[in-house]
Protein backbone atom coordinates (compact mmCIF):
# COMPACT_ATOMS: atom_id res chain seq x y z
CA UNK A 1 0.00 0.00 0.00
CA UNK A 2 1.29 3.40 -0.79
CA UNK A 3 1.05 6.23 1.67
CA UNK A 4 -2.17 7.09 3.26
CA UNK A 5 -3.34 9.85 5.49
CA UNK A 6 -3.98 8.89 9.08
CA UNK A 7 -6.25 11.46 10.58
CA UNK A 8 -5.34 10.49 14.07
CA UNK A 9 -7.09 10.49 17.37
CA UNK A 10 -7.55 14.22 17.59
CA UNK A 11 -9.86 14.12 14.65
CA UNK A 12 -11.81 11.23 16.11
CA UNK A 13 -12.68 13.33 19.08
CA UNK A 14 -13.00 16.46 17.02
CA UNK A 15 -16.20 14.97 15.72
CA UNK A 16 -18.12 15.65 18.89
CA UNK A 17 -20.30 18.16 17.15
CA UNK A 18 -21.82 15.38 15.14
CA UNK A 19 -22.29 13.04 18.07
CA UNK A 20 -25.73 11.54 18.45
CA UNK A 21 -27.66 10.89 21.64
CA UNK A 22 -26.29 7.40 22.06
CA UNK A 23 -22.72 8.65 21.87
CA UNK A 24 -23.30 11.36 24.42
CA UNK A 25 -24.92 8.85 26.70
CA UNK A 26 -21.88 6.67 26.35
CA UNK A 27 -19.51 9.53 27.06
CA UNK A 28 -21.44 10.79 30.08
CA UNK A 29 -21.79 7.32 31.49
CA UNK A 30 -18.08 6.81 31.23
CA UNK A 31 -17.32 10.12 32.82
CA UNK A 32 -19.74 9.65 35.68
CA UNK A 33 -18.52 6.11 36.26
CA UNK A 34 -14.96 7.33 36.61
CA UNK A 35 -16.01 10.09 38.98
CA UNK A 36 -17.90 7.60 41.10
CA UNK A 37 -15.07 5.14 41.43
CA UNK A 38 -12.73 8.03 42.14
CA UNK A 39 -15.09 9.16 44.82
CA UNK A 40 -15.34 5.68 46.29
CA UNK A 41 -11.58 5.62 46.80
CA UNK A 42 -11.54 9.00 48.51
CA UNK A 43 -14.64 8.13 50.46
CA UNK A 44 -13.03 5.04 51.93
CA UNK A 45 -9.91 7.04 52.68
CA UNK A 46 -11.94 9.59 54.57
CA UNK A 47 -13.92 7.00 56.42
CA UNK A 48 -10.83 5.13 57.50
CA UNK A 49 -9.91 8.02 59.74
CA UNK A 50 -12.20 6.07 62.06
CA UNK A 51 -9.32 3.67 62.48
CA UNK A 52 -7.35 6.29 64.39
CA UNK A 53 -10.17 6.99 66.77
CA UNK A 54 -13.59 8.36 67.28
CA UNK A 55 -12.54 11.98 67.65
CA UNK A 56 -10.41 12.02 64.56
CA UNK A 57 -13.34 10.67 62.57
CA UNK A 58 -15.85 13.15 63.92
CA UNK A 59 -13.47 16.05 63.39
CA UNK A 60 -12.77 15.07 59.83
CA UNK A 61 -16.43 14.74 58.95
CA UNK A 62 -17.45 17.95 60.62
CA UNK A 63 -14.45 19.76 59.24
CA UNK A 64 -15.16 18.68 55.70
CA UNK A 65 -18.87 19.25 55.93
CA UNK A 66 -18.39 22.81 57.08
CA UNK A 67 -16.62 23.70 53.87
CA UNK A 68 -18.89 25.21 51.25
CA UNK A 69 -16.79 23.72 48.51
CA UNK A 70 -17.36 20.22 49.83
CA UNK A 71 -21.10 20.81 49.93
CA UNK A 72 -21.03 21.96 46.33
CA UNK A 73 -18.95 18.97 45.33
CA UNK A 74 -21.52 16.80 47.03
CA UNK A 75 -24.23 18.28 44.86
CA UNK A 76 -22.05 17.50 41.88
CA UNK A 77 -21.61 13.99 43.18
CA UNK A 78 -25.31 13.58 43.49
CA UNK A 79 -25.83 14.73 39.93
CA UNK A 80 -23.18 12.38 38.71
CA UNK A 81 -24.57 9.48 40.70
CA UNK A 82 -28.14 10.10 39.67
CA UNK A 83 -27.23 10.31 36.02
CA UNK A 84 -25.14 7.18 36.27
CA UNK A 85 -27.98 5.37 37.98
CA UNK A 86 -30.65 6.48 35.53
CA UNK A 87 -28.58 5.91 32.47
CA UNK A 88 -27.36 2.67 34.02
CA UNK A 89 -30.94 1.56 34.27
CA UNK A 90 -31.45 2.67 30.69
CA UNK A 91 -28.50 0.53 29.67
CA UNK A 92 -29.83 -2.42 31.62
CA UNK A 93 -33.05 -2.18 29.68
CA UNK A 94 -31.15 -1.99 26.44
CA UNK A 95 -29.24 -5.07 27.47
CA UNK A 96 -32.50 -6.83 28.03
CA UNK A 97 -33.56 -5.79 24.57
CA UNK A 98 -36.41 -3.53 25.57
CA UNK A 99 -36.89 0.04 24.58
CA UNK A 100 -34.24 0.09 21.88
CA UNK A 101 -36.43 2.30 19.76
CA UNK A 102 -36.71 4.77 22.60
CA UNK A 103 -33.00 4.92 23.32
CA UNK A 104 -32.71 8.59 22.45
CA UNK A 105 -35.78 9.57 24.41
CA UNK A 106 -34.70 7.60 27.44
CA UNK A 107 -31.32 9.31 27.39
CA UNK A 108 -32.94 12.72 27.30
CA UNK A 109 -35.27 11.63 30.07
CA UNK A 110 -32.27 10.61 32.19
CA UNK A 111 -30.76 14.03 31.67
CA UNK A 112 -33.91 15.87 32.58
CA UNK A 113 -34.63 13.82 35.65
CA UNK A 114 -31.03 14.17 36.80
CA UNK A 115 -31.33 17.91 36.47
CA UNK A 116 -34.59 18.00 38.36
CA UNK A 117 -33.41 15.85 41.23
CA UNK A 118 -30.16 17.77 41.52
CA UNK A 119 -31.87 21.12 41.70
CA UNK A 120 -34.46 19.85 44.10
CA UNK A 121 -31.83 18.58 46.49
CA UNK A 122 -29.65 21.68 46.54
CA UNK A 123 -31.35 23.15 49.65
CA UNK A 124 -30.84 19.97 51.64
CA UNK A 125 -27.20 19.76 50.68
CA UNK A 126 -26.14 23.31 51.30
CA UNK A 127 -28.22 24.08 54.35
CA UNK A 128 -26.00 25.16 57.20
CA UNK A 129 -22.93 26.37 55.36
CA UNK A 130 -24.19 29.47 53.62
Amino acid sequence: MSQSYDRGTVEDFGRWRSFTAGMWAWLFHKFTGWVLIGYLFTHIAVLSTALTGEAAYNDTIVGLESLAIVRLLEVGLLAVAVFHILNGVRLLFIDLGTGLEAQEESFYASLVITGAITIASVPTFVSGVF
Binding site: M1, S2, Q3, S4, Y5, D6, R7, T9, E11, D12, R15, R17, S18, F19, T20, A21, G22, M23, A25, W26, L91, I94, D95, L96, G97, L100, Q103, E104
Partner: protein
Protein backbone atom coordinates in the same frame (compact mmCIF):
# COMPACT_ATOMS: atom_id res chain seq x y z
CA UNK B 1 -15.62 28.17 -12.97
CA UNK B 2 -13.18 26.01 -11.22
CA UNK B 3 -12.27 24.84 -7.78
CA UNK B 4 -12.09 27.58 -5.26
CA UNK B 5 -9.89 27.33 -2.25
CA UNK B 6 -11.75 27.09 0.96
CA UNK B 7 -11.43 30.36 2.80
CA UNK B 8 -10.52 28.77 6.09
CA UNK B 9 -7.74 26.58 4.77
CA UNK B 10 -6.12 28.97 2.42
CA UNK B 11 -2.59 28.63 3.72
CA UNK B 12 -2.44 25.12 2.44
CA UNK B 13 -3.48 26.19 -1.01
CA UNK B 14 -0.37 28.01 -2.13
CA UNK B 15 0.11 29.32 -5.62
CA UNK B 16 2.43 27.03 -7.56
CA UNK B 17 5.97 28.39 -7.29
CA UNK B 18 7.44 29.09 -10.69
CA UNK B 19 10.24 26.60 -11.13
CA UNK B 20 13.55 28.30 -10.47
CA UNK B 21 15.96 26.00 -12.28
CA UNK B 22 15.01 24.51 -15.62
CA UNK B 23 14.20 21.01 -14.38
CA UNK B 24 13.70 18.46 -17.09
CA UNK B 25 9.95 18.27 -16.96
CA UNK B 26 7.71 15.99 -18.92
CA UNK B 27 5.19 17.47 -21.33
CA UNK B 28 2.46 16.27 -19.04
CA UNK B 29 3.91 18.15 -16.10
CA UNK B 30 4.34 21.27 -18.13
CA UNK B 31 0.80 21.08 -19.40
CA UNK B 32 -0.48 20.59 -15.89
CA UNK B 33 1.51 23.49 -14.54
CA UNK B 34 0.18 25.74 -17.27
CA UNK B 35 -3.27 24.49 -16.70
CA UNK B 36 -2.98 25.07 -12.99
CA UNK B 37 -1.84 28.62 -13.58
CA UNK B 38 -4.73 29.20 -15.92
CA UNK B 39 -7.17 27.65 -13.53
CA UNK B 40 -5.81 29.87 -10.82
CA UNK B 41 -6.42 32.92 -12.95
CA UNK B 42 -9.87 31.77 -13.90
CA UNK B 43 -10.57 31.14 -10.29
CA UNK B 44 -9.66 34.63 -9.23
CA UNK B 45 -11.81 36.02 -11.96
CA UNK B 46 -14.62 33.77 -10.94
CA UNK B 47 -14.27 34.77 -7.33
CA UNK B 48 -14.60 38.41 -8.31
CA UNK B 49 -17.50 37.92 -10.63
CA UNK B 50 -19.35 35.49 -8.33
CA UNK B 51 -20.67 33.34 -11.15
CA UNK B 52 -24.37 33.15 -11.54
CA UNK B 53 -25.52 29.55 -11.61
CA UNK B 54 -29.04 30.50 -10.78
CA UNK B 55 -30.66 30.53 -7.38
CA UNK B 56 -30.51 26.82 -7.24
CA UNK B 57 -26.79 26.35 -7.15
CA UNK B 58 -25.41 24.42 -4.23
CA UNK B 59 -22.01 24.66 -2.65
CA UNK B 60 -20.06 21.49 -2.33
CA UNK B 61 -17.07 21.39 -0.01
CA UNK B 62 -14.97 18.38 -0.64
CA UNK B 63 -12.03 16.98 1.26
CA UNK B 64 -8.97 16.65 -0.93
CA UNK B 65 -5.75 14.75 -0.33
CA UNK B 66 -3.27 13.00 -2.53
CA UNK B 67 -0.03 11.61 -1.16
CA UNK B 68 1.96 12.39 -4.28
CA UNK B 69 0.48 15.41 -5.95
CA UNK B 70 1.97 18.71 -5.04
CA UNK B 71 -0.47 20.97 -3.29
CA UNK B 72 -2.61 18.06 -2.20
CA UNK B 73 -0.27 16.32 0.21
CA UNK B 74 -1.61 18.59 2.92
CA UNK B 75 -5.30 17.86 3.22
CA UNK B 76 -7.59 20.71 2.26
CA UNK B 77 -11.13 21.43 1.25
CA UNK B 78 -12.11 22.45 -2.26
CA UNK B 79 -15.30 24.28 -2.99
CA UNK B 80 -17.45 23.65 -6.02
CA UNK B 81 -20.61 25.43 -7.06
CA UNK B 82 -22.99 23.01 -8.73
CA UNK B 83 -26.28 23.85 -10.41
CA UNK B 84 -29.01 22.06 -8.55
CA UNK B 85 -31.48 19.86 -10.38
CA UNK B 86 -34.50 18.20 -8.89
CA UNK B 87 -33.79 14.85 -7.35
CA UNK B 88 -30.03 15.45 -7.28
CA UNK B 89 -28.12 13.24 -4.90
CA UNK B 90 -24.78 13.97 -3.30
CA UNK B 91 -23.25 11.40 -5.61
CA UNK B 92 -24.73 13.20 -8.63
CA UNK B 93 -23.22 16.43 -7.39
CA UNK B 94 -19.81 14.83 -6.95
CA UNK B 95 -19.96 13.35 -10.43
CA UNK B 96 -20.94 16.74 -11.80
CA UNK B 97 -18.06 18.39 -9.98
CA UNK B 98 -15.64 15.81 -11.27
CA UNK B 99 -16.83 15.75 -14.85
CA UNK B 100 -17.10 19.50 -15.30
CA UNK B 101 -14.47 21.02 -13.05
CA UNK B 102 -11.83 18.66 -11.81
CA UNK B 103 -11.44 15.19 -13.22
CA UNK B 104 -8.94 14.30 -10.52
CA UNK B 105 -11.63 14.37 -7.87
CA UNK B 106 -11.64 10.81 -6.63
CA UNK B 107 -14.33 8.74 -4.96
CA UNK B 108 -15.72 5.24 -5.20
CA UNK B 109 -19.11 4.68 -6.75
CA UNK B 110 -20.82 2.20 -8.96
CA UNK B 111 -24.43 1.13 -8.65
CA UNK B 112 -26.13 4.52 -7.95
CA UNK B 113 -28.86 2.63 -6.12
CA UNK B 114 -27.61 1.82 -2.67
CA UNK B 115 -26.66 -1.80 -3.24
CA UNK B 116 -22.95 -1.81 -3.95
CA UNK B 117 -21.88 -0.01 -0.79
CA UNK B 118 -19.06 1.87 -2.51
CA UNK B 119 -19.92 5.41 -1.62
CA UNK B 120 -20.32 5.63 2.12
CA UNK B 121 -19.09 9.14 2.89
CA UNK B 122 -19.12 11.60 5.74
CA UNK B 123 -21.72 14.08 4.53
CA UNK B 124 -22.61 17.06 6.67
CA UNK B 125 -21.33 15.36 9.76
CA UNK B 126 -22.88 11.97 9.30
CA UNK B 127 -22.06 8.72 7.54
CA UNK B 128 -24.33 8.32 4.52
CA UNK B 129 -24.34 6.80 1.07
CA UNK B 130 -23.77 9.53 -1.48
CA UNK B 131 -26.20 7.96 -3.93
CA UNK B 132 -28.94 7.61 -1.35
CA UNK B 133 -28.72 11.14 -0.01
CA UNK B 134 -30.96 13.70 -1.65
CA UNK B 135 -29.37 17.11 -1.49
CA UNK B 136 -32.80 18.59 -0.91
CA UNK B 137 -33.02 16.61 2.31
CA UNK B 138 -29.86 18.12 3.79
CA UNK B 139 -30.04 21.19 5.98
CA UNK B 140 -28.22 24.30 4.92
CA UNK B 141 -26.93 25.16 1.48
CA UNK B 142 -23.42 23.90 1.95
CA UNK B 143 -22.82 20.22 1.40
CA UNK B 144 -19.65 19.13 3.12
CA UNK B 145 -18.24 15.83 1.98
CA UNK B 146 -15.43 14.04 3.75
CA UNK B 147 -14.06 10.53 3.62
CA UNK B 148 -15.30 8.13 6.28
CA UNK B 149 -13.84 9.04 9.67
CA UNK B 150 -11.67 6.57 11.54
CA UNK B 151 -10.21 5.15 8.37
CA UNK B 152 -6.99 6.05 6.64
CA UNK B 153 -7.47 8.20 3.59
CA UNK B 154 -5.95 6.82 0.43
CA UNK B 155 -6.88 9.79 -1.69
CA UNK B 156 -9.62 12.42 -1.62
CA UNK B 157 -12.74 10.57 -0.55
CA UNK B 158 -11.30 7.10 -0.89
CA UNK B 159 -10.47 5.37 2.37
CA UNK B 160 -8.60 2.18 3.05
CA UNK B 161 -11.20 -0.52 3.63
CA UNK B 162 -8.79 -3.35 4.41
CA UNK B 163 -9.37 -3.33 8.14
CA UNK B 164 -13.11 -3.44 7.61
CA UNK B 165 -12.81 -6.36 5.21
CA UNK B 166 -10.51 -8.17 7.62
CA UNK B 167 -13.04 -7.84 10.39
CA UNK B 168 -15.86 -8.98 8.12
CA UNK B 169 -13.88 -12.03 7.17
CA UNK B 170 -12.81 -12.81 10.72
CA UNK B 171 -16.23 -14.12 11.73
CA UNK B 172 -16.22 -17.04 9.29
CA UNK B 173 -18.76 -15.26 7.14
CA UNK B 174 -19.98 -18.31 5.30
CA UNK B 175 -22.70 -20.83 5.78
CA UNK B 176 -21.66 -24.02 7.53
CA UNK B 177 -23.92 -26.80 8.57
CA UNK B 178 -23.71 -29.66 10.98
CA UNK B 179 -24.92 -31.91 8.23
CA UNK B 180 -25.17 -31.31 4.52
CA UNK B 181 -28.07 -32.68 2.51
CA UNK B 182 -27.31 -35.93 0.75
CA UNK B 183 -29.28 -35.56 -2.44
CA UNK B 184 -28.15 -33.24 -5.19
CA UNK B 185 -31.48 -31.45 -5.34
CA UNK B 186 -32.28 -31.51 -1.67
CA UNK B 187 -32.92 -28.22 0.02
CA UNK B 188 -32.51 -27.41 3.67
CA UNK B 189 -35.87 -26.29 4.86
CA UNK B 190 -36.25 -23.07 6.72
CA UNK B 191 -39.40 -21.69 8.23
CA UNK B 192 -40.61 -18.35 6.92
CA UNK B 193 -40.39 -17.12 10.52
CA UNK B 194 -36.73 -17.97 10.77
CA UNK B 195 -36.06 -16.34 7.45
CA UNK B 196 -37.85 -13.27 8.74
CA UNK B 197 -35.64 -13.25 11.81
CA UNK B 198 -32.45 -13.09 9.82
CA UNK B 199 -33.83 -10.99 6.99
CA UNK B 200 -32.62 -7.61 8.16
CA UNK B 201 -29.18 -8.91 8.95
CA UNK B 202 -28.73 -10.27 5.42
CA UNK B 203 -29.15 -6.83 3.94
CA UNK B 204 -25.69 -5.56 4.73
CA UNK B 205 -23.87 -4.14 1.72
CA UNK B 206 -20.46 -3.82 3.39
CA UNK B 207 -20.41 -0.06 3.11
CA UNK B 208 -18.53 0.45 6.35
CA UNK B 209 -20.65 3.37 7.53
CA UNK B 210 -21.46 1.69 10.82
CA UNK B 211 -17.87 0.83 11.61
CA UNK B 212 -16.83 4.37 10.86
CA UNK B 213 -19.45 5.79 13.18
CA UNK B 214 -18.57 3.64 16.16
CA UNK B 215 -16.18 5.22 18.64
CA UNK B 216 -15.33 1.85 20.06
CA UNK B 217 -14.22 0.57 16.69
CA UNK B 218 -12.10 3.65 16.10
CA UNK B 219 -8.36 3.63 16.71
CA UNK B 220 -6.04 0.83 16.05
CA UNK B 221 -8.03 -1.82 17.74
CA UNK B 222 -9.37 -5.20 16.97
CA UNK B 223 -13.02 -4.76 17.89
CA UNK B 224 -14.96 -6.73 15.30
CA UNK B 225 -17.35 -3.87 14.82
CA UNK B 226 -21.08 -3.81 14.18
CA UNK B 227 -21.07 -5.04 10.58
CA UNK B 228 -19.01 -8.13 11.31
CA UNK B 229 -21.04 -8.95 14.40
CA UNK B 230 -24.17 -8.52 12.35
CA UNK B 231 -22.73 -10.94 9.83
CA UNK B 232 -22.12 -13.41 12.62
CA UNK B 233 -25.67 -12.86 13.79
CA UNK B 234 -26.95 -13.63 10.32
CA UNK B 235 -25.46 -17.12 10.53
CA UNK B 236 -25.85 -17.78 14.24
CA UNK B 237 -29.58 -17.17 14.02
CA UNK B 238 -30.05 -19.22 10.88
CA UNK B 239 -31.59 -22.46 12.08
CA UNK B 240 -30.32 -24.35 9.09
CA UNK B 241 -26.80 -24.23 10.48
CA UNK B 242 -27.65 -26.47 13.42
CA UNK B 243 -26.91 -26.39 17.14
CA UNK B 244 -23.24 -27.33 17.12
CA UNK B 245 -22.47 -24.71 14.55
CA UNK B 246 -24.27 -22.16 16.65
CA UNK B 247 -22.07 -22.97 19.63
CA UNK B 248 -19.07 -22.44 17.43
CA UNK B 249 -20.42 -19.12 16.21
CA UNK B 250 -21.06 -17.97 19.77
CA UNK B 251 -17.45 -18.75 20.62
CA UNK B 252 -16.28 -16.59 17.77
CA UNK B 253 -18.22 -13.54 18.76
CA UNK B 254 -17.56 -13.90 22.47
CA UNK B 255 -13.86 -13.35 22.14
CA UNK B 256 -12.04 -10.40 23.63
CA UNK B 257 -12.85 -8.36 20.56
CA UNK B 258 -16.35 -9.55 20.07
CA UNK B 259 -19.74 -8.46 21.32
CA UNK B 260 -18.62 -7.45 24.79
CA UNK B 261 -16.85 -4.45 23.45
CA UNK B 262 -20.00 -2.85 22.17
CA UNK B 263 -21.08 -0.09 24.52
CA UNK B 264 -24.44 0.45 22.88
CA UNK B 265 -23.62 3.77 21.31
CA UNK B 266 -26.29 3.25 18.71
CA UNK B 267 -24.50 5.31 16.13
CA UNK B 268 -24.11 2.24 13.94
CA UNK B 269 -27.86 1.72 13.96
CA UNK B 270 -28.40 5.39 13.25
CA UNK B 271 -26.26 5.49 10.16
CA UNK B 272 -26.85 2.11 8.55
CA UNK B 273 -28.26 2.87 5.09
CA UNK B 274 -30.02 -0.47 5.04
CA UNK B 275 -31.79 0.19 8.35
CA UNK B 276 -30.33 -2.89 9.96
CA UNK B 277 -31.01 -2.79 13.72
CA UNK B 278 -27.38 -3.41 14.52
CA UNK B 279 -27.40 -2.58 18.21
CA UNK B 280 -30.38 -4.83 18.69
CA UNK B 281 -28.59 -7.68 16.96
CA UNK B 282 -25.48 -7.18 19.04
CA UNK B 283 -27.49 -7.06 22.25
CA UNK B 284 -29.37 -10.18 21.28
CA UNK B 285 -26.10 -11.98 20.76
CA UNK B 286 -24.86 -10.86 24.16
CA UNK B 287 -27.94 -12.33 25.77
CA UNK B 288 -27.60 -15.50 23.70
CA UNK B 289 -24.03 -15.78 24.88
CA UNK B 290 -24.95 -15.40 28.52
CA UNK B 291 -27.76 -17.88 28.13
CA UNK B 292 -25.67 -20.51 26.43
CA UNK B 293 -23.01 -20.07 29.08
CA UNK B 294 -25.47 -20.45 31.92
CA UNK B 295 -26.67 -23.70 30.45
CA UNK B 296 -23.31 -25.27 31.07
CA UNK B 297 -22.78 -23.85 34.45
Amino acid sequence: MSTQPDQTDDETESTPEPDAEPEPESPGERRRAEKAARAEAAEEEAADAEPDLGDDAITLKVFRYDPEVEGKTEPRFDTFRIPFTKGMTVLDALIEARDTYDSSLTFRHSCRQAVCGSDALFINGRQRLGCQTQIADLDGDVVRVEPLPHQDVVKDLVVDMEHFYDQMEAVEPYFQTDETPDGELEEQFQTPENREEIKMSTRCIWCGACMSSCNIAADENEYLGPAAINKAYRFAMDEREGENMKEHRMELIEQENGVWRCQTQFSCTNVCPKDIPLTEHIQELKREAVKSNLKFW
